[in-house]
């Protein structure tokens, strides 16, 4: 099961300011749930002037009690207050010459329940618009994928196939058309 969301936006700051702000975005008073940020890989290519960074964020999250009850304690790994940690892996590539930055963030745990992949592309606007020195365009896309949903869909599909095989004898082996989602 896949859901997709995308959006575009333009910041009132030039590209260097936006790319610096991206690296400095935690800690901030609006994201108190982000407990730590560590750089785990970083490489700079002098030839292309590209900078690649992999960072790991740890977030404290509080589950809705109803959801916490449904999941086994071992899967949640939360403490008494119902607080659970989750890990986010963020990869970014900055090209200062061409003035673009691409980022991808995804959750490392909880993947069986829901995996979220968030991509940002920051870009200097086209020259002719005359705003390139004080604006940065950004496009955001988020892909939500649930493996639980996928399992259910696969099972439903199998039932469908079995049902056709037994009830419609001599149907020429035609498979049930699979409804594609996403």
């Amino acid at each position: 099961m896949v859901k997709f969301y995308s959006n575009t936006y333009s910041y009132d700051y030039n590209f260097p300011a936006v790319s610096l702000a991206y690296f400095l975005r935690y800690p901030n008073p609006y994201s108190r749930h982000v407990a730590s940020t560590d750089t785990i890989e970083r490489s700079f290519d002098p030839e292309t002037q590209r900078l690649t960074t992999v960072r790991l964020h740890v977030k404290q999250s509080r589950l809705p009690p109803a959801v916490a009850k449904l999941l086994p304690k071992s899967a949640v790994g939360q403490d008494q207050d119902g607080r659970a940690q989750s890990f986010i892996l963020e990869k970014s590539v900055v090209d200062v010459r061409e003035e673009w930055m691409e980022t991808e963030s995804k959750n490392l745990d909880w993947n069986n329940v829901l995996s979220v992949i968030e991509r940002h592309t920051f870009r200097r606007p086209e020259e002719e618009s005359g705003t390139a020195d004080h604006r940065t365009d950004v496009s955001v896309s988020v892909t939500l994928k649930s493996r639980i949903g996928e399992q259910l869909r696969k099972r439903r599909q199998r039932w469908g196939e079995q049902a056709t095989a037994t009830s419609v004898i001599g149907a020429g082996g035609e498979e049930e058309p699979v409804v594609k989602q996403g």
Partner: protein, 84 residues
């Protein structure tokens, strides 16, 4: 400055982050960077994370491995020709 997930590495992380931000804003963003000057500090910081088994203890190294393996699976599943 943001904290490290391993509190014992906070100090070396802060030294590295300070160095990186200075290099990033004063050299990299001005297109005058020739090398990553903070690499020695980064190595110290990374050594702290691995020596203290900060990533291992929290099971993160395994999750990283799984994330990489999962990507391969997904690529195989979604990149194959759909036959339509």
């Amino acid at each position: 400055m943001s904290a490290s997930l391993a509190p014992e590495c906070n100090e070396v992380k802060e030294r590295y982050d300070t160095c990186f931000l200075k290099w990033y804003s004063e050299k990299y963003l001005r297109n005058t960077a020739t090398t990553d000057e903070c690499e020695p500090l980064f190595r110290q910081y990374k050594t702290c994370l691995t020596a203290k088994k900060a990533l291992k203890e929290r099971g993160i190294d395994q999750m990283l491995e799984e994330a990489r393996a999962d990507n391969k699976d997904n690529d195989a599943e979604y990149m194959k020709p759909s036959g339509r």
